[in-house]
Symmetry: C2
Amino acid sequence: MASLTIALDAMGGDDAPRMVVDGMFQAAESLAEARFLLFGDRAKLEPLVARHGEAAKGRYEIRHTDQRVAGDEKPSQALRKGRGSSMGLAIEAVKQGEAVGAVSAGNTGALMALAKFALRMLPGIDRPAICTVLPTMRGQSVVLDLGANVECDAETLVQFAIMGEAYARTMLGIATPMVALLNVGSEEVKGHDIVREAAQRLRDTDLPIDFKGFVEGDGIGKGDVDVIVTDGFTGNVALKTVEGTAKLIGHHLRNSFEKSIWSKLAYLVARPAITSARDHFDPRRYNGAMFVGLNGIVIKSHGGTDAFGFANAIRVAHQLSAERIDDRITEDLRHFSAAATAVAATTGAPG
Amino acid sequence: MASLTIALDAMGGDDAPRMVVDGMFQAAESLAEARFLLFGDRAKLEPLVARHGEAAKGRYEIRHTDQRVAGDEKPSQALRKGRGSSMGLAIEAVKQGEAVGAVSAGNTGALMALAKFALRMLPGIDRPAICTVLPTMRGQSVVLDLGANVECDAETLVQFAIMGEAYARTMLGIATPMVALLNVGSEEVKGHDIVREAAQRLRDTDLPIDFKGFVEGDGIGKGDVDVIVTDGFTGNVALKTVEGTAKLIGHHLRNSFEKSIWSKLAYLVARPAITSARDHFDPRRYNGAMFVGLNGIVIKSHGGTDAFGFANAIRVAHQLSAERIDDRITEDLRHFSAAATAVAATTGAPG
């Protein structure tokens, strides 16, 4: 594999720039060929980098800017004055072809606005979606949209299905991922018009998507399918409900083991097993959500993550770039347009 | 407290009628004053009842019908031919004033259709919602709508907020429950028009509702507020996502403890603490969702529950009847209408 360069917003995130720098060195170890552009305040970055001595020597470069996008900046503000910021410059590096992808733990709305403005949409895609991988009983599943679009029409959901399917092939290595729409029941009559119309379109197409119809909320954890498609409102609520439920259960487990001296001793005995189970849900392991649908790879890291989590977001950017997810999505969309046109020609339905 | 009679659909649910009969006897023990009407097949019910000997003697009565609503029956079919079924007769007993509430573990859609037809809506309420209590880090919260209305306008969400607030006062005994709308962010600008408009109306009213604005999906587990209001699509997905995540974590914990002979021994030591934590999430403890907004109390039990869970659904019906939740909702709505009219008069906005 040729050397791939990843652009990093060194100043975004609660513990930036330190966790970005440390995360870069962690990722550099496992991605032996990768190179990095580190955008941010040189005076702050150099001492952090120096702590790693000769590691990854010659494989990263600091690009100075003293501007950064604040955590509470509105997308419109970021568009007006954020293009010279560490976030804006990281995206610009992707646009200019200096980097194959950008990673930022900064403000999500600003990152989306800057990325859409600089990179534009892939041909055939109307709106980008936020896409990630979640743990299930069978392994992992792809879920999108996690909050980019609070309202979606049927056509948008179909585009999300195509992009999510490409994401699952790329990130999970599944040859023919099973795809479903999130709904309040599995029967065809369930749900609102938009989700039913999207299902109808996905059934009608000749595109080789293994469309399984509808799954309910508990299908996310069960891993009934590989790709779960929904609007950004429902997806965001579902993602945060998963996080909240995991925290709630952790909280009650901790309380139970802290009740008495006996339960505290029991915890010492049980700790290896509990830690092993908890590792499955460590949000840092799943850190790195892609803004799919853009003409370039932009990965959003959780703002509160640490070096371990940020390194994982870098690995997501690297893998998606190496496997050329953009090309896969574009190719799939071309097939889909052709199939939709053919269906329209035979049925008289709008294509 | 005067004796309250609860009507039971003895034939609905996977393990009916046995779990209904056993659940009735469990509930009868803790609700010393309650009486029961048991609707179903007398030939099946009598031997089940006989197993309990002299317990609850004189406090229940079997009302025979050989008709039942099937699990896969459509609401329209249930309306046409289900009124003489065990489910239909239990609801009819509420309408006729023979019972203060009905409990069924049968088909949700059929139960909702029969209940709406027989009982009609409370004055000022356009649509019923499914409402339940979920565990949180602080205790319990009320969540609605869990699936009765997949699409809701702002006015409907406001009505749900009023009903949910009354539900929290009645079931959780909180004098001034905190109420919030489920959204994708806590800032006022977040979300779609409907949820923002509902928030505006709840802020504008003089009704003494402690409205806290928006909560995100993880606010359900954290217990940020006492009442979480959302449309039936999002609420259903969130509820099932909670269930799926809890199952997923249980699955991984089990796997971890089954890995080796040592981890199996560790489980024996840790079991009391794990069982105590798990009890907090036992869905049977939270069994019994109310169809709020109807002119009468109808409680839906989970179809797959057992006697312990069904007894809890009966307790929900009993408590809501004893505390006269219908009157509270009606009273609140009258205040709200007056307040909305006053706001409209001063601002010129539609009331």
